[in-house]
């Protein structure tokens, strides 16, 4: 499956598990905290899920801020 599509699914799963909804659609520029609304615990959960599925520690090279940043790390 396309990495971007799967990543969107994961983010939406995390939001719905925490009873949150998206205020605006996710774009590559969407800021994880300010636009998508993920708090630290949810970000931590995101890193665990991504590591499990893609075997990549997205924070290894430093802080990630946007959805596009994550995709970049996933694409290597």
């Amino acid at each position: 499956m396309n990495k971007e599509i799967r990543l969107r699914e994961i983010v939406e799963e995390i939001l719905s598990e925490n009873y949150k909804t998206l205020k605006t659609p996710i774009t590559l520029q969407s800021h994880l905290k300010n636009d998508i609304g993920l708090d630290s615990m949810e970000l931590a959960f995101l890193t665990v899920k991504i590591e499990d599925e893609f075997n990549v520690d997205i924070f290894e090279e430093g802080i990630v801020f946007t959805f596009g940043d994550i995709l970049q790390r996933l694409n290597g």
């Binding site: 630290s40 615990m41 931590a44 890193t47 665990v48 499990d52 924070f59």
Partner: protein, 318 residues
């Protein structure tokens, strides 16, 4: 000796260990014991004959008691059970090392009346009614109210003793509930500061590193060891508490909760779970969300075949 150990088996290693221990005792030389090493390396503690027998109660009426040994005969807890029975002319049923599928039958077939074991032992014991057991003792690990309730069902006619003890200091205090009470009597040698238990031994206060939670002004439960706490983004999380909730889910046999490195939080909670029937991981998480804060929820649940127990029957923790 086959008169002392009711289920004695010539070829059973731990039955032989019991003999060796009693022989060492006859020589009245000091005996070395090793702590379980639940955290860190096992420590060697030497006990003299006098210190080994000082907590043993002797009385004519104890001769009829049949004690089940669930602990390693080479460890302090094991030595106390063996001595309590032997020095009173009673009988012993050795469960240590016996396959778990046989244990319930052995308890009933050999007429066990007294058992001392860790909460993990009772939690893993199959449901049954052990009506002839008149005394059940817990020790060595945190007793959750769930395990306490199970024990009351398994042993409907038994007196329950929850003991707080250590290899270094022996039995310190006890209760017949899943919690303990800080009475005036024990306040002379027990102090609780910062939710940690301190013990006074020979004039010096020692930090036991055991962590408690007050349930009211004088009653507390032991929630675990401070070294086992997981620091999730600055929040101290108790793995034992999480395990006790996971273990409530129908189909879960046992669980082990630990911390995993995470770039955002430092550590996050992960759980290894053994099932005895098919369970959806999401059902486990749903149950946990009803009782725990977000920091305490395992971010990953692994279904595993086994969880390591230490030589004293406690869950091995890093």
């Amino acid at each position: 000796m086959d008169k002392f150990i009711l289920n004695y088996d010539n070829y059973f290693e731990s039955d032989l260990k019991i003999y060796e221990f009693l022989q060492k005792l006859e020589s009245i030389e000091p005996i070395d014991f090793y702590t379980s090493g639940t955290t860190g390396k096992p420590k060697r503690i030497t006990h003299s004959y006098e210190s080994l027998i000082k907590n043993i109660k002797i009385d004519k009426k104890y001769k009829e008691h049949v004690w089940a040994l669930t602990y390693d005969p080479n460890k302090i807890a094991g030595s106390q059970v063996i001595l309590q029975s032997y020095l009173n002319g009673g009988k012993l049923v050795n469960l240590f090392g016996r396959p778990s599928s046989e244990i319930a039958n052995i308890i009933n077939n050999f007429g066990v009346t007294h058992i001392s074991a860790t909460p993990t032992f009772y939690r893993l014991l199959d449901y049954n009614t052990f009506s002839r057991v008149s005394q059940v003792t817990f020790g060595g690990e945190t007793v959750s109210s769930q395990v306490f309730k199970k024990v009351k069902k398994l042993f409907p006619n038994a007196n329950i003793r929850n003991i707080y003890a250590s290899t270094e200091f022996g039995t310190l205090f006890a209760s017949n509930k899943y919690y303990f009470t800080l009475t005036d009597r024990i306040s002379s040698f027990v102090r609780i500061e910062d939710n940690r238990i301190f013990i006074k031994d020979r004039g010096i206060w020692h930090d036991t590193e055991d962590v408690i939670e007050w349930i009211d002004n004088t009653n507390f439960i032991i929630v675990g060891r401070s070294t086992n706490m997981i620091n999730v983004g600055g929040n101290k999380v108790n793995p034992i508490k999480i395990e006790s909730y996971i273990n409530e889910v129908v189909g879960v046999k046992n669980s082990y909760v630990y911390g995993k490195e995470n770039s955002i939080m430092g550590k996050v909670v992960v759980a290894d779970v053994i099932l005895d029937k098919s369970v959806d991981k999401n059902d486990i998480t749903k149950h946990l969300r009803k009782h725990l804060t977000p920091y305490e929820i395992p971010l990953k649940i692994n279904i595993v075949e086994k969880i390591e127990l230490t030589s004293t029957g406690k869950i091995t923790r890093q």
